[in-house]
């Protein structure tokens, strides 16, 4: 019986995809994906490829990170203010394995992500008793511990201290994903698409519905016989996996890891910022948020006001939460849709 269902589902995929692509948001997404695929080939200019294009790669890395946060907080209702933990641990583990143990990149990345999942378990279990603001502060406290631990001079022989690991700290060089920025872009792009598809499918599935029910009414979910504990831990693990992938990519993007840059509260703040802009429950909103903020930072740096970047981000977050708590992605899509309808004369 089950085997027949799965076969049916797979056979249905092309029709499903076709009908999805015909919806407005579906076609919009396809359109953007096509643009992103063709974009890198726009120019052969050296600085375009190595500098400007890499910002797109960075934005995609943060899209994955923000989406992982959104999955945990927006879908599962577990407010995490310490998402930098998973990001940083994966980055450090990946960097360590490559630089000191000579792991090949394609092995170190999953290893790093799995390390992050391990931490997802470690963090998830004590946090089971915490709800809402307590969980937020608990995860914040955890991330502060890790930050302080990695900064401790006395542990710097194991944990590399405030200098972290950089390109040539270890016997093996800590290289980028690829020396060719185009290849780097596409590796991250494809990972982004796969990650988003996986997360979307999880959210739409029965598993996702259970997570949403835990978010909306944990007592009710518990009363319905759902093992909320197990699902919460699963949510942490899934979220930390994707955060870990992003963290490994980030370490390779920078070819270095250090405590403040990878474990800092700033990183957790970015996840929250980007996901909130797009909308707490929309996964695709996270990529909108990521692109928006990475490029806003780029513009501000080019304008020479980089000292004000974080302050402006914080103010934007305040405004978004205050006036548009469900993010700006949905309203934007609604307006685009209306505009499109007007254009088509409907």
């Amino acid at each position: 019986m089950k085997k027949g269902l799965v076969k049916e589902k797979i056979r249905n995929i092309p029709t499903y995809l076709k009908s999805w692509a015909k919806t407005f948001s579906g076609s919009l997404t396809v359109f953007l994906l096509i643009i992103l695929t063709l974009f890198p080939f726009l120019s052969q200019n050296e600085s375009f490829i190595n500098y400007f294009l890499r910002h797109f790669t960075l934005a995609m890395i943060f899209s994955i990170f923000a989406a992982s946060w959104d999955f945990l907080t927006g879908i599962s209702g577990q407010i995490s203010f310490g998402h930098a933990i998973f990001f940083g641990i994966a980055g450090y583990l990946c960097a360590y394995l490559i630089a000191f143990q000579g792991f090949p990149i394609w092995l170190a990345i999953p290893a790093g992500a799995l390390g992050a999942v391990g931490f997802g378990l470690i963090i998830g279990i004590p946090c089971l008793r915490l709800r809402g603001p307590y969980l937020a502060l608990g995860t914040l406290a955890f991330s502060l511990i890790l930050l302080k631990l990695f900064l401790l001079g006395s542990l710097s022989n194991i944990l590399f201290g405030s200098e972290g690991i950089s390109y040539n700290t270890g016997p093996y060089p800590l290289t980028r994903l690829s020396s060719n920025a185009l290849i780097e872009y596409f590796i991250v792009f494809i990972t982004l698409i796969i990650s988003f598809i996986i997360i979307f499918q999880i959210v739409k599935s029965k598993f996702g519905t259970i997570l949403k029910s835990i978010r909306d009414d944990e007592t009710g979910a518990d009363a319905s016989g759902i093992n909320t504990t197990r699902y919460k831990v699963y949510a942490f693990m899934i979220s930390s996996f994707f955060a870990g992938i992003a963290g490994c990519f980030y370490a390779l993007y920078n070819t270095s890891v250090n405590p403040v840059g990878n474990f800092g509260t700033v990183i957790s703040f970015f996840a929250i910022l980007m996901a909130s802009l797009g909308g707490l429950t929309t996964i695709s909103g996270s990529s909108l948020g990521a692109f928006f903020f990475i490029f806003l930072e780029y513009i501000l740096i080019e304008m020479g006001v980089d000292a004000y970047v974080q302050l402006i981000f914080a103010i934007i977050l305040i405004l978004v939460v205050r006036f548009a708590e469900h993010g700006i992605l949905r309203p934007i899509i609604e307006h685009l849709k209306d505009f499109w309808d007007v254009l088509l004369g409907r």
């Binding site: 907080t73 008793r129 809402g132 406290a141 511990i145 302080k148 707490l280 302050l311 977050l317 939460v321």
Partner: protein
């Protein structure tokens, strides 16, 4: 050895005194409105920097500067409530996000103006010099602060028990709807509560920080985590618990500082370990009357 014990006791008391005022305000706001104001540590930090900046402009006018700094921080506390917290009060995520963003914004603002290097505001010390006690020299300002903090806590206890506003605060914290039915403007009471909490943090900052130092705009986060540890240890919603918790955390921190090898490095982590231990062993804290929600 003996001197180290005196060191530990004195600094423990000092830490407890600082934390008691900060955590009291934080616990009050949570108890009354179920609001976690993540910007609370930032109020403390901001007062210190306001004092620093005022000092550059008006070095001589100590008292006026202090009043200025305390008033500004208190106003910011009030504005936090009116502009930020009240509109998103129904969403727990929203309050936490918006106060976190505010704390971040305040930190960045101070960072832009003053950078990350430490600064001192010793110009504001009221009781200069040190006293020797059995071989350990204590800053007079610190002794003064400890005494004042005890007075403030006692005054606050009187206020909360006897005054009309204090009783309203207790009523709202017990049952906000019933309080409204009794004719108490819960919203107003919550506003005053946030105002008072910011005020307490500001007073603590203006009397303690002149003797200590301003360790960069990020110092607010440490006080926030410490407050959280204190309030979790004491029990969310229990004011007595916050005071007791403050001194316990204070002594543990100073013990770690003095007697644990490489102490000062580990002392930063103490509050967080306290949080974890309390959550694992006894989540409602020492005096917690409400269940963790």
């Amino acid at each position: 050895m003996f001197q180290e014990i005196i060191n530990m006791l004195f600094n423990g008391t000092l830490n407890g005194a600082v934390l008691s005022l900060i955590a009291l305000g934080y616990s009050l706001v949570y108890g009354v409105g179920h609001i976690m104001n993540l910007a609370h540590g930032a109020y403390f930090m901001l007062t210190g920097y306001l004092l620093l900046w005022a000092y550059h402009f008006f070095p001589g006018q100590i008292l006026i500067n202090v009043i200025f700094a305390v008033v500004i921080t208190t106003i910011i506390g009030g504005l936090t409530y009116i502009l930020l917290i009240k509109p998103v009060k129904d969403s727990a995520v929203g309050v936490v996000l918006i106060t976190f963003a505010l704390a971040f914004a305040l930190e960045q603002y101070v960072l832009i103006i003053s950078g990350t290097t430490s600064a001192t505001i010793s110009g504001y010390v009221i009781f200069k010099g040190t006293t020797d006690f059995l071989g350990y020299s204590m800053l007079n300002q610190y002794v003064f602060y400890i005494i004042i903090s005890l007075i403030i806590v006692s005054l606050f206890a009187l206020f909360i028990n006897k005054s009309k506003l204090g009783k309203s605060i207790r009523a709202v914290s017990q049952d906000s709807e019933a309080a409204t039915l009794m004719g108490i403007n819960s919203d107003r009471v919550l506003f005053y509560t946030v105002l008072i909490s910011a005020f307490l943090a500001a007073i603590a900052a203006s009397l303690y920080l002149p003797g200590a130092a301003l360790n960069g705009p990020a110092m607010g986060w440490e006080y926030l985590t410490s407050s959280f540890a204190v309030v979790i240890l004491g029990g969310m919603g229990s004011l007595v618990g916050s005071i007791v918790g403050a001194y316990i955390v204070g002594y543990i921190t100073s013990f770690t500082n003095v007697f644990v090898p490489n102490g000062p490095a580990w002392a930063h982590i103490v509050p967080i370990i306290v949080i974890l231990l309390v959550l694992i062993i006894r989540p409602q804290g020492l005096f917690g009357k409400k269940e963790l929600q």
